[in-house]
Each structure stands twice: as C-alpha cells, then as structure tokens.
C-alpha cells in the first residue's frame, strides 16, 4: 500500500464528487430537507384535517341531549373534531361527503331506557369507509356512549339497591398502568413513543443507503463505462489502492450523508410530534440512541457501499451495477421493513437464525437491542462490530475480483458460456 497514491486517488474522487451536483444534492441536501418536511407534513395532515361527526337526533329526550353534550364536551379535548347537531335527516348528511361518521339517535331512545330497569336504547353509528378519520370519530363516539351508559347504570343501581355504592358495581377491578423501560424502571413519558422512534430511525437507515450506492457504482463501473479505467489500471497503483481510494472517498460522502440523515431524521421527529401533538418531545432513549443511530447509519452505509463496490467490479455498466446493487440491497433491507411489524430480534434468535446473515439485520438490531435491554449498549456495539466485519470481508473480496481481465472481458466470457450451454443442451 502506497499512501501517496492512495491519497491521490481519494483526492481525485473527492474533487470529481465535489463537482457532481446531482450526487451532492441527493446525499446531503435531500435528507436535510426531505425528512423534516415529511414529518411536518404528516403532522400537519393529522392536525389540519378535522374529523366531522353528524348527529341526527329524532329522540329529543333527556338522554339524547346528554349524549350530545358529552360528545361536544369530549370533542374539546380531542383535538380537531367538528360536531354537527343541526342535521335533521340522513339524506341531508349524504349531501355532505366530508362527514366521517353519522350518529343516529332514533325516536324513543330516552323512553326505552327509562321505562324499566331492563330497557335498552339503540343508537346507529355509521362511519364512512372512505374516511381516514372515521376510526378517530368512532372512538370518540364510543367513549361518549360509554360515559352515558355508566351514568344510566349508576341511576339504575340507586333505584334497585339503594344502599350499595354504584361505583363498585361499575368498576369492581381497578387498573393501574405503569409503563416500564429496560430493567423494569419506570419509563418517562416520551419513552412511550420509543416504538415509533425506532420505526422512524429504521426508515432513516433505509433512505441513507441510496446516495452512496449511486456514488460508488458511478465511481467504479463509471470508470469502465467512461473509458478511464484501462489507463488507470496500468499505472503503478495497485488494485487495493484504487479500490481503497474509491472506498474511502465514498465513506467521506457516506459520513457526511449519515450526519445529514441523522440531523434530518431528528428534525423530522421533532416536526412530526410538533405537528401531531402540538408539543416538542425529546427523543425517547435520549442522546445515547441518537449517537448509536449516527454510528449505525454510517456503518449501514459502509456495508452498502461495499456491496455496491463488489457488484460494480463485476458489472458491465453503471446502469447495471446501479440496478443490481439497488435490487440486492433493497431485498436485503426488507428486514428493516419487517422489523416495523415484528420483533426482529425474537424472530432471528428463536425461529430464523438465517436472518443474522443479512448485514442489515444487525443495523436494525443495533438500535433495537439498545433500547430493549438494560445494558443494551453492549449488545448494540456487538451488532455494529459485525457490520464493520462484513464491510471488511466484502471489500477484500471486491479487491480480489477487481482484475483487468474480469473488468475488460467479463461480459463476453459470460455470453460465450451461455451460448455453449445452449449448443450442448
């Protein structure tokens, strides 16, 4: 290894990169704009779009009044809900497609409830299937109905068994819920959002991979495509120096991109919750998690770069190198998406140990174990180390495959072999 030549290659790559506006934009500018905007947008959509509930009261009795008032009361605490009480028929409601849920209180509702202790009142609840707010409206309506039911039960108990405390009938069991963190300690309020935090971080990991793939495929396969590689291969620079220089240059890019990505995801998180709940919530898990995330993004990008590097050395063109690398990494990255729906660690350790072979499993687990275990840091570092080892192995393999022979005639050879097979088949 000759440092002078290695430095020279890094210098050339970075100079070239610094003039490549598209890659710089994708790697550095996009995350810092994209993630916060996405977070803000989701939050805004949640807040800005109100849920509309229409109530049609045919009953006009004591209890229908109470239900309406409870609902109106709740809606004040429930964010953005609008309740319409001025509709007089279902047909009228149909004219307004924005209504997410219609609550119909039929005639005789109050009377049915009050006429005997066994009396049952019926309400009709009609959520709109095409509405994204219907379930929110439904849970609000159900809460109001529960509150009314409880009131009625209290009254009935008082009438039937006057010397008993109605609360004991209603709630014979008292629930005490306390969120806990790793090791059983009480969780802070923001830690309840830990799951969501992890999801967002894992998504951030996924998006961090792509600019580096584009850079490294262009840097290796691009030299071949643009016919600059042949001359380079004949210089005294060794294969390791050439690939090493390119790798280090892409790591510089990856480092910057990872930093921007972390910052972007952090901002997105703030904006999402700022927009969603109207409050700024610090990230559950604290600075430690952000630190691990930053290292994790860097190593995830590094391992991705080495996969792309490997594929680029055997691909004929930038386009094929890029699409191969994107396809492969996307398939491997499915573990990231899977981890959103299940506990990847449980699945890997108990049913599918094969998953440990996928480098990105360790990207995910570095984050998951950090928050899951009391000394999560130790587990996390272990997964990060595995990522680093993967990278080294892939690069070594890449350097082995990076021979002039393979680069210059790989395609033809393969075609020839296929052709032969056909002849003999």
């Amino acid at each position: 290894m000759n440092w002078r030549r290695l430095k020279n290659i890094i210098w050339k790559e970075l100079l070239d990169l610094s003039r490549d506006k598209r890659t710089i934009f994708a790697a550095i500018i996009v995350p810092i704009i994209f993630y916060p905007t996405l977070g803000g947008l989701i939050g805004y959509m949640f807040k800005a779009q109100p849920a509309y509930i229409a109530i049609i009261d045919y009953d006009k009795g004591e209890y229908s009044e109470e239900l309406k008032n409870t609902l109106l009361n709740y809606s004040k605490y429930f964010g953005n809900v609008n309740i319409f009480t001025n509709y007089t028929s279902e047909l009228q409601v149909l004219e307004n497609p924005n209504i997410d849920l219609t609550l119909i209180i039929p005639k005789g509702f109050t009377e049915n409830i009050t006429k005997s202790l066994n009396g049952v009142g019926i309400v009709y609840i009609k959520p709109n299937v095409v509405s994204s707010k219907a379930s929110e409206a439904l849970s609000l309506v159900e809460m109001a109905i529960n509150a009314l039911s409880n009131n009625i039960v209290r009254k009935r108990i008082k009438t039937a068994i006057p010397n008993v405390e109605p609360e004991r009938f209603l709630n014979p069991i008292k629930k005490v819920v306390e969120y806990i963190g790793p090791g059983g300690r009480a969780a802070s309020p923001e830690e309840r959002f830990l799951f969501l935090t992890l999801m967002i971080f894992i998504l951030g990991l996924y998006f961090s991979m792509h600019p580096a793939i584009a850079f490294v495929t262009d840097s290796v396969a691009g030299e071949k495509e643009r016919k600059t590689l042949e001359a380079l291969l004949v210089t005294p620079a060794s294969r390791i120096e050439i690939l090493g220089g390119k790798l280090i240059a892409s790591l510089v890019l990856s480092g910057v991109a990872a930093g921007m990505n972390t910052l972007g995801v952090f901002l997105m998180y703030t904006f999402l919750f700022g927009g969603l709940l109207g409050v700024q919530i610090p990230i559950g898990g604290g600075l430690g998690l952000i630190g691990i995330y930053a290292i994790d993004v860097f190593l995830t990008v590094t391992v991705t770069v080495s996969i792309a590097l490997l594929l680029s050395t055997v691909s004929g063109s930038v386009r094929s190198a890029h699409s191969n690398a994107t396809a492969l990494t996307t398939v491997l990255a499915l573990v990231m998406f899977a981890s959103i729906y299940g506990d990847l660690e449980k699945i890997a350790s108990q049913t599918l140990p094969l998953l440990y072979l996928i480098p990105y499993t360790h990207s995910v687990l570095a984050l998951v174990t950090f928050v899951k275990y009391e000394n999560g840091f130790i587990y996390s570092v272990r997964h990060l180390l595995i990522l680093a080892i993967y990278t080294l192995a892939l690069i070594t393999l890449g350097a082995k495959l990076f021979s002039g022979e393979r680069i210059l005639i790989a395609k033809v050879k393969r075609k020839g072999r296929k052709f032969k097979l056909k002849l003999f088949a």
Partner: protein, 246 residues
C-alpha cells in the same frame, strides 16, 4: 537490453483464438509499430504487454520482468494509451495530468516537472485549465497522449495514438512522439492502421494478421522484401501471400 520480449504468445477469448503464437522482440530506444487490419489482435497484444490481460500461453517480458508474475514491476516502467481512452470529464486538463503524474512521481518537484512536460506535449495552451467536458475529441486524445508520455516511461505503449485526429493534429502528434523519443531515449510501441504514419515514425514494424505475425523488419526491409514502393503495398502483399499459404 530488450524492452519487450514475446515468445509464442497465445490468447483465447472463450474458444476463439485471437493470438496464435506470436513471437517478437523490441529493442530499447526503438519506435516499434504493430500494424494489422481490424480484429487482427493488435489491442489484445498491447493489453497483454500492459499487464491488464493475461496470456493464455507463452512468455511476455518487459525489461526482463514477467508481465504476469511481476506485473507491479512492469507497471512502474510503462505507461499506456488505450485505444479508447477518455479522461475525467469533471476535472480540468491540468488536474487530469496532475492525477496521473502523482501516480508516478515520487517528489512534488518530479510531479511538477511531469505536468509541465504534459502541458507542453498536449499543445492545448490555456485550454488545459478548462474542464475536459468542454474539449473536442481531438483535444482529449492529445491530452491523453500527453498524460501517457509526460511521465517519461521506459516503455510507452500507444494503441492507435492518432485515431480521431485531423491531419494537422496527427502530424503534431507524430512530431511529439519523435521528439519525445529523441529527448528521453524511451522505447515506444504503437499500433496503427495508418501506413504513412508508421513509415514516418517507426524504426521497425511487425505486420499482424488474424493473430499471426506475418512479417517483421524496418520499413525499408519490408518494402524490399515485398518489392513494394511503399509500406501500404508491402502490407497488402504480405497479407495476400499469407492467404495463399493457408
């Protein structure tokens, strides 16, 4: 000392035999021309000497070093202008030269000297400070040639150095090569289709056809041997007599 020594060199691409056992030597300080029609095996031969393709059979040595086993040593002594070489487009001409100079030069003085020499050979004047993406094809070829020669290799391998150049630029390039050899005492191995060029430039010439060397000698010797008035005629007769034999 022999600059290049080739013994019974074979090269297969799959089943196809592109070189069928060629043998020739190049003396130090010579300008040697490899001449043959399209697909005759010129580029294959040059790539093998330049260490980027491996011989299927046979021995190739550059200044005594084996191109397979001692490829690193060979690469220290040679520089190579590929047939379809291009430059880094987002870099300026000088930056391209600097990048290659730093691969060879040990000290910054050496590197500076190389770049200066490169700018001179390129004949691009102030345009060397522009990005290569703004150059014409001919300008790029000139810069690629300058990049190859500026490092003063003991052996320069040039695959069709004047391809894509206009008459005027070709003459310039030929003069550059000649001047380069006179000043540095380097050895040059070049391939070409252009007989005029070869006759003007080369001390010795090898005719290659379908992977065989069919004649070798100084331009005068070859003209005499085939009783021809110029090298082109000699070449055509050599190829024809080869066809008759087979």
């Amino acid at each position: 000392m022999l600059a290049v020594e080739i013994k019974n060199l074979h090269r297969f691409y799959g089943d196809f035999e592109a070189l069928k056992g060629i043998t020739f030597d190049i003396d130090e300080g010579e300008i040697f021309g490899l001449i043959g029609p399209n697909g005759s095996g010129k580029t294959t031969t040059l790539r093998i000497i330049a260490t980027i393709l491996k011989p299927s059979k046979g021995i190739v040595k550059v200044f005594g070093y084996d191109v397979v086993r001692e490829a690193d040593k060979v690469r220290e002594l040679i520089s190579y202008l590929p047939e379809e070489a291009d430059l880094y487009k987002r870099l300026t001409g000088v930056e391209n030269l600097l990048f290659f100079a730093k691969m060879y030069g040990e000290t910054s003085d050496e590197v500076k000297e190389m770049v200066k020499f490169g700018i001179e050979i390129s004949g691009l004047g102030n345009r060397v400070y522009d990005k290569v993406e703004t150059y014409s094809k001919g300008m790029r070829r000139r810069l690629a040639l300058a990049r190859t020669l500026m490092v003063k290799p003991k052996l320069a391998i040039l695959d069709e150095p004047t391809s894509g150049l206009d008459v005027y630029a070709s003459v310039n390039v030929r003069n550059s090569i000649k001047k380069f050899v006179r000043e540095t005492g380097s050895t040059v191995l070049l391939s070409s289709h252009n007989m005029l060029e070869v006759e003007y430039l080369c001390d010795r010439v090898a005719f290659i056809s379908k992977g065989n060397i069919i004649a070798i000698g100084t331009p005068d010797e070859l003209k005499k041997k085939y009783n021809a008035s110029n090298l082109e005629e000699a070449f055509v007769r050599a190829v024809e007599s080869e066809l008759e034999e087979t």
